[in-house]
């Protein structure tokens, strides 16, 4: 039996949950409601009056090739960011886990990038790869590679993926390292005595035992790639070239606040909301079942 504290009466429990409820209401339910409401209207270019169009905004959006392209861009972007940031983090965590001397320093240094705000990280990477003054771009030029993410779509995508993953690696690293250290040493040793070499051990013991951590990071990273990478994209490419890096959340911004099409922007937010909700439900329903041992 789970032990619970029982509060008598109604007022104390209400008071205790109130702060969280207020925050959720103000910052989630209210804006989400507004977005749903607005998505049913078209505003005139000056924002003076709006006209009810029902699901017109959605119909228009789903027929728009740019919007559909943005879906594909988002998929490529978020899968790449998740794979890169989790893959590199896992690799570093495996190395750190084997380290005895100096692991404290190593860990501290690896955590620092997490403290850099996404927008700042974006500016940092933008300067390094700037086609005229960027250090990395210049060295690439010396090596005979003409780097230009302002014109080249693949390079632009690569750069925002790397810049978005960079700070994220620290976060994932921490979780992976904690997960690895939670695996009892003797289990690994037993596998070694059973004849399993490093990679066999990783595949058959470490990876399955790490799966709850991996699953958690997967959910968190996908949500991160969907929403929180706005700053990086805004500072480095502003969604270009030719919308090659315009992910859904960036399109919400550019259509709504640059293009002043508030109705469409709101409709996009609603679709995004539904999409993330759906993704999370799928992840929890189908993947989570397999990760608990």
């Amino acid at each position: 039996m789970e032990k619970r504290v029982i509060f008598k009466g109604l007022w104390l429990p209400l008071l205790l949950v109130a702060p969280q409820m207020v925050i959720t209401a103000v910052f989630f339910f209210y804006p989400a409601g507004q977005a749903i409401w607005q998505s049913l209207f078209i505003a005139d270019p000056f924002g003076l009056k709006s006209q009810f169009v029902g699901l017109g905004n959605f119909e228009y959006l789903l027929a728009d090739p740019f919007y559909r392209a943005s879906f594909l861009t988002t998929a490529i972007f978020s899968i790449s960011v998740t794979l890169v940031s989790m893959g590199v983090a896992l690799y570093l965590a495996l190395l750190a886990d084997r380290l005895i001397k100096g692991s404290g320093t190593y860990r501290t240094l690896l955590i620092w990038p997490y403290a850099v705000a996404p927008a700042v990280a974006g500016v940092l990477w933008m300067f390094m790869f700037n086609t005229r003054v960027g250090v990395v771009a210049w060295y690439l030029g010396v090596l005979g590679y003409d780097w230009n993410h302002v014109l080249n779509e693949a390079e632009a995508m690569g750069l925002v993926v790397v810049a978005s993953s960079w700070g994220r690696i620290s976060y994932n690293f921490l979780f992976f390292l904690a997960g690895l250290q939670a695996i009892p040493r003797s289990v690994i040793e037993a596998a070694a005595i059973d004849g399993a070499h490093f990679w066999t051990r990783f595949r058959t013991i470490v990876w399955p035992l790490l799966s709850p951590v991996t699953f958690f990071l997967l959910v968190v990273n996908i949500v991160y790639a969907f929403f929180e990478t706005f700053g990086v994209i805004h500072t480095i490419t502003s969604g270009g070239p030719q919308q090659a890096t315009t992910i859904l959340v960036y399109k919400v911004y550019s259509d709504g606040f640059v293009g002043q099409d508030l109705g469409s922007s709101a409709a996009q937010s609603v679709i995004l909301l539904g999409l993330v909700g759906l993704l999370t439900i799928i992840q929890f329903k189908f993947i989570e079942r397999k990760v608990h041992y």
Partner: protein, 352 residues
């Protein structure tokens, strides 16, 4: 089936030496127990044999082949860990089959071997369960099964019973011994429990601070402990040790009483008297002030002090004695053959 040989095995972490040269030749099928207090290096020694710790000095042979630099998997050993170290995400069957699958054994043979081992260990009804669905004793058996199926040259046990409750420990102890006899596999068993050591061992290594104090059969160690440490560590309750002066075939204690000994000794010595060898004797030389008693049923432990010596003294008398009857001054004697004399400085047994 194998012999195991440790020759002058040393271990140090940087400048800190923790094992100072242990040597033993283990015969085929022999059950060796390494016993000692925590921190004496017994687990480290076992882990060096397993290949989980590097050997910093000396040689280790399995079947006359030097295996110092071999990986654990190449040494043909199996180990049972203190916390069992079962793979939590695998069923009992997969836990046992893991090593065989890695060795790429045909499926039919894996099933046969696991089937045989699980029958021997009464694990057949649980093969599809996960470790978390098993009791402590069952997990212990799975860990044993995992070792058995691989048919190794040597079994290593690292305090395998210390996580079980007292009753189960006694039962599993017997099971381990029966199994080891049945399979005839050379075994090395680490424990801090001297009762486990006494009951399981063909021969035991008594370890203290990285040194093998004595290597011998349980009764050898009990009857003729080589050092003061071995004398006090083996036997329960532990041996009474009193400082004194050797006077030929006797030891004069601090209170002037002389106890007859079987050996010749002179100068400062330590006299060892096992509590169970003391005999109630109205004319005995040892006057004990009994303060407390602990009835154990088969025998009674008396706690007190020898008159004139400020040191705790324990006597174990057969049968039941009421505390009220036994309290106060009691006289005891001890046969000369049951006394043990040790050098006061080196702690070594005097045998002359």
């Amino acid at each position: 089936m194998a012999t195991l040989s440790l020759q002058d095995i040393h271990k140090s972490y940087g400048a800190t030496a923790v094992i100072h040269g242990v040597s033993i030749d283990v015969n085929d099928g022999e059950f060796i127990v390494i016993v000692g207090p925590s921190g004496c290096g017994k687990s480290t020694l076992l882990r060096m044999v397993a290949g989980l710790e590097t050997i910093t000095g000396g040689d280790l042979f399995v079947n006359d082949a030097r295996v110092n630099d071999d990986e654990p998997m190449a040494r043909n050993i199996a180990m049972v860990f203190q916390n069992y170290a079962l793979y939590p995400h695998m069923s009992v069957f997969d836990n046992m089959a893991y090593g065989l699958k890695i060795a790429k054994m045909p499926k039919a043979e894996i099933a046969e071997r696991v089937g045989k081992a699980s029958k021997m260990l009464q694990l057949e009804p649980y093969l599809q369960r996960k470790p978390r669905e098993l009791s402590g004793g069952q997990r212990q058996r799975v860990a044993m099964g995992r070792a058995i199926v691989r048919d190794p040259a040597v079994f290593l046990f690292d305090e395998p019973l210390s996580n079980l409750d007292a009753k189960l420990r006694v039962q599993m102890r017997l099971e381990i011994k029966t199994l080891q006899r049945e399979l005839g596999v050379t075994s090395l068993y680490v424990t801090h429990d001297q009762v486990e050591a006494m009951t399981l061992a063909d021969r035991m290594i008594v370890m203290n601070a990285g040194i093998a104090e004595q290597i011998g059969s349980p009764l050898e160690v009990y009857e003729t402990p080589a050092t003061l440490f071995a004398a006090q560590f083996i036997g329960s309750p532990s041996m009474n040790v009193l400082p004194g002066t050797g006077t030929g075939r006797g030891v004069q204690l601090a209170n002037g009483v002389t106890i007859e000994t079987a050996v010749l000794c002179n100068g400062p010595v330590m006299l060892g008297l096992r509590p169970e060898h003391l005999v109630a004797d109205k004319a005995g030389p040892l006057v004990v002030l009994v303060k407390m008693s602990e009835p154990l049923g088969a025998n009674t432990l008396l706690h007190g002090q020898i008159k004139g010596i400020d040191q705790d003294f324990v006597v174990s008398l057969p049968g039941v004695h009421r505390e009220a009857d036994i309290k106060g001054e009691r006289r005891f004697s001890i046969p000369a053959a049951a006394t043990h004399v040790f050098d006061a400085i080196s702690g070594k047994r005097i045998n002359a």
